[in-house]
Symmetry: C2
Subunit: 311 residues, 2 copies
């Protein structure tokens, strides 16, 4: 927050300094040129960054400033979850519309703190500037690897089972602004069995599975009948876009997609993760590309038809 | 870059993956949900973030996209320099105007790489999104402390001398877009003698000195005649705003302001820092507030009249 020039920023800094949680790994938070982090010995640092823009990622209404702040951190925490990392600190930069009330920036940051609190992480720095444009909020999160080390997209192996947390589709009707990132579930799963590859589903199941396949240089078969669908995916289903297609392509589910050896997958499926069903939806194979096994048993190619290119 | 949705972003990611420097502490850069950093054993992590907006921090022209990218990283590197940290990695999020050519994003990132290269640091992640607004670029930098540990704003002690690198004032005529952050100079100084407190001058000498005084709970006397003025400060001088006032209040100098015990200050002043004069401009005292000793020897109060409140 050192160099921010928004009116009232120093009041905001004082308020945030007073009410934030301080993670023990954060030796110095808001108030200097940089924050100082002391991760646990032998742990690696995981860092991810995402920017959300008013009019693109959300509008006011239906979202409140607090919900926008919450989402801005949550989407980043979902990236840390995908690496099986423990969140330490967030850094938040904001371009704040000049016309908005003084409480707007505070509510936005309250939302960030809402998302941070369950994980005991700090809001350790940032920068707030006023301007004449719409709201832009950029969040960078810093986490540390668990004792088992981080999980990448590149580790999927032939024979692996493909698992997914929760259920998919129709997120934009509300889930995208209220989800809890699967941080705890990722850490619990990784303590239970080795996870070979993991990603969070932001672009859509099909697109994000393709990211794993690309980085791991393997192929996959997804079982259409096993893909867990949300009630929203069913509710929004149309002839052109049935519930399954929504689950494959809607995106912003912020669930975890992972692969593990068959025995390990069985141990993961036996876990009782509160409020977080885990489902086996397919398998990894040698080769390249992705196929979808339909209800009649036939296989069809599954393109990377996620967020960027709707089916 | 994992979740970006700008058209062509995957081409940009491929290009950046190909041409970036990889710092040995960066085990995994662009291309997964998060980057993986392995700082040297026993070192702390320093993290700073700043957002720059078109129309507020720069306009096109006079700046080119490449200069804007360069500045966006350089202002953050200046924050790492102020902590005496070694830069490791940068994370860059961008809201990209839809009307701009496809090469705009690439030039912007080339500018980031220009600023990163001299320090061997990586561009390790980020997020690029297209929208209908002006350019917004947010950079988070991650560095590691040197063997002597980081330098904070809070360590100034009575009797300390106040030193400043380079010369001050008139930065907006060009220096703000072309400066080299004082990273190497900070590391060299810290190896030479203990630095008690340090900050980079972004808000203006007076305002930034007040930040040190506030955090260290001490007072200061600045010697007006010793403050090093740029040729630009002289050139832009007017009756209402003489060169000295420009040096005290213009801001965006991105020079380092530091304090050290008298003997240590003498050792620092004896250093030969190429292209970086170091000047003793005053002293720290017990108490609070800041005074300016004028040419006639008289003392006047020096308010925190930096960027936010022009004299």
């Amino acid at each position: 927050m050192a160099d921010g020039k928004a009116p009232g920023e120093f009041d905001l800094i004082r308020l945030l300094r007073e009410r934030q949680v301080v993670h023990p790994a954060v030796r110095l938070g808001i108030g200097d040129d940089a924050a100082i982090l002391s991760p646990a010995a032998g742990r690696e640092l995981l860092i991810a960054a995402d920017m959300l823009m008013e009019g693109t990622h959300f509008t006011f209404p239906p979202l409140t400033p607090r919900e926008a702040g919450r989402k801005a951190l949550a989407v980043n925490l979902s990236d840390l979850a995908a690496m099986a990392a423990e969140p330490l600190a967030a850094f938040v930069t904001v371009a704040l519309p000049r016309g908005r009330s003084a409480s707007f920036a505070l509510e936005l940051h309250e939302g960030v703190l809402d998302a941070a609190r369950p994980f005991g992480m700090s809001l350790a720095g940032g920068d707030t500037n006023a301007w004449d444009g719409p709201l832009v909020i950029s969040v960078t999160v810093c986490g540390q690897s668990s004792a088992a080390g981080p999980v990448c997209r590149s580790g999927a192996l032939p024979e692996d089972r493909i698992l997914v947390t929760g259920s998919l589709g129709g997120s934009l009707s509300g889930h995208h602004a209220s989800f809890t990132p699967r941080v705890r579930e990722a850490l619990t799963m990784q303590q239970t069995a080795p996870i070979h590859a993991m990603i969070d589903i932001s672009d859509g199941l099909a697109a994000d599975l393709h990211h794993i396949l690309d980085e791991s240089q393997v192929a996959a078969v997804l079982e259409a009948a096993r893909i867990p669908l949300t009630p929203e995916a069913h509710r929004q289903a149309t002839a052109e876009k049935p519930a399954l297609v929504r689950a494959l392509s809607d995106g912003e589910d912020f669930e975890l997609l992972l692969t593990a050896a068959p025995d390990d997958a069985a141990r993961l499926l036996a876990l009782d993760l509160p409020g977080c069903p885990l489902t086996d939806i397919g398998s990894i194979h040698a080769g390249s590309g992705c196929q979808l096994r339909q209800a009649d048993g036939s296989l069809i190619p599954l393109e990377r038809s996620g967020w960027q290119h709707q089916l």
